[in-house]
């Protein structure tokens, strides 16, 4: 049997908000180590990798490995029925057809159960190659979300250029251009506000704003976001999920049509 309990259901609610723009269905792999999800969006341009470690849960039991295909919109609907203070428990039998979500109010006077049908999905095990990145930037996640939102008004694509001075975001479109530069912050005590660039080589890559704007839906999960970039490999956009795990988004850079052929 599989059972996982989180005192703060709000974490799971935020995780669902963070993936539901990109994924319509996904396989949740449950094992001793925790819950993992890896899936690509329909266009196969971006990849979501979610990892929730078993030790991050308040109670976790997984007798045998399970792959559960779930409808993301459906799961999101169910989690919206939970109050933020509720405790959530996920429960499934071995070889399950359904998964049960149990929400308990803090003083346990209200218990709601939602049972969701699982779906059969083709399992695609995606191997994510170990990659050494030329630039790793840590910056406030809200700042990143705001830049993505602002720049997407100017163009479909956004260029991220990283050098030792800092990081520059730019977009160009029919109306004009937009440029936002962030300098590295001097050593500050407030780590949440810090902009830190670790650079081996300068990098300049262009990405679709639409996807970035889906990624920043994870902003409520973490005050900082980490962007890892190298030429000609996908960007990694990583948010820590409290003490329990992380969500990583991978996005292939845009390439010129000429190079495509």
């Amino acid at each position: 049997m599989f059972e996982a309990r989180l005192v703060q259901s709000v974490i799971l609610k935020k995780v669902l908000e963070a993936i539901k723009d990109l994924l319509t269905e996904a396989t949740f792999e449950c094992s001793d180590c925790g819950i993992q999800l890896q899936a690509m969006d329909n266009a196969h341009v971006s990849l979501v990798s979610l990892n929730l470690r078993s030790d991050g849960f308040d109670k976790y039991r997984c007798d045998r490995n399970l792959s559960m295909g779930m409808s993301v919109p459906c799961m999101s609907k169910i989690l919206r029925c939970a109050s933020s203070e509720d405790t959530v428990t996920l429960r499934a039998w071995d070889n399950p057809d359904t998964i049960v979500f149990v929400f308990e109010s803090p003083n346990r006077d209200k218990i709601s159960e939602y049972e969701m049908k699982l779906i059969n999905l083709d399992q695609e095990h995606l191997g994510i190659p170990e990659t050494l990145y030329s630039c790793v930037v840590k910056m406030p996640s809200q700042e990143f979300a705001r830049i993505c939102r602002d720049l997407s008004q100017f163009g479909d694509a956004m260029t991220i250029a990283c050098s030792k001075e800092g990081i520059k975001f730019s977009a160009a479109g029919d109306y004009g251009t937009a440029n936002v530069k962030l300098a590295q912050t001097a050593e500050t005590e407030n780590q949440e506000e810090a902009v830190v660039v670790e650079m081996k080589e300068p990098v300049k890559l262009t990405f679709s704003c639409r996807y970035l704007n889906s990624f920043v839906k994870a902003t409520p999960l973490c005050a900082q976001v980490q962007l890892s970039m190298s030429a000609e490999v996908p960007l990694v956009c990583e948010y820590q999920i409290g003490e329990i795990g992380h969500i990583r988004y991978y996005l292939a850079p845009k390439i010129d049509d000429e190079e495509e052929n």
Partner: protein, 323 residues
Amino acid sequence: MCGRTACTLDAETLKCVCGYKDATGRYRKAEWQSRENAGRDYQLSYNIAPTDVIACVVAGEHFDTEQERVLYPMIWGMIPPYHKGDYRKHNLSTHNCRVEGMRSSKLYSTPLNKGFRCVVVCTGYFEWEKTKEPKQPYFFHAPQREGVNLTEIHKDSSKWTEKNGWEGVQLLKLAGIFNAWKSDDGHIIYSCTIITMEANKVVSWMHKRCPAILQTEDDVSAWLDFKRVPLSDAVQLLRGPTEDTLKWYPVGTAVNNSRYKDEDCIQPIKLKEKKESGAAGLMASWLNSSSQTASKRRSTDDVEGGERTGKSEVKRAKKDQRG
């Protein structure tokens, strides 16, 4: 416009497909006629361009036969009757004829008034989407019964019976005009043109013009029946295609070269989604590049791939033996 077609049936099969129901309600095959025609006979082809030979159906009355319908291979591109010399060198673009002006056209009104109406039969025609760079060819064809493979060669007349007629691949039937031209040494050559009209909303995304497709058997009969259906009525048969009467898919650019005749001319291809395709490809190759799980998968694919090559080698060997 309609400047390229494909016809993947041999003459015997074409006779079946172009058959008709006689007065007793039985199906009859069309009669194949081809006289000298400057030595240009019909050949099935994946890529037929103007000046090549295309198969035309005409009323039997034109060729002194009791059969109602005759198949006659004709040069695509009408040779002007006044032309002298080499029939290939009239330097006029006459493979299409605009429906709007054909009745006042010097070249086309004469044969039209004589009732020289024909139906050009083909597996389909090609048209190029010019908004893309390079321009993207599409193959337009008739809707097919389930199980019919459009891309293969059809040399099988067993799908024809007197009772039910033809039950195999469906062809496009394009309205055309033909004419006979007499060379200096007295040889008669038949040539034809395909009538085009303004594209309706089904096909206008592709091109402003489209060929006049005869969409029902009744339309075909009436178009051919020059004795009983006057031109003014026949012209009313020329209507734009509907989504039920015309289908299409993109093909590779190999067909662009009119001398390239291989089968991949009409092989469907998958178009890349324009914007994200490069990105998706990069993502895929990156994910496949290292990692154990990925390489495991790749090797199973390789095994399958290996088997496949194995089979095709066998095939090739057999072919060689036959050759």
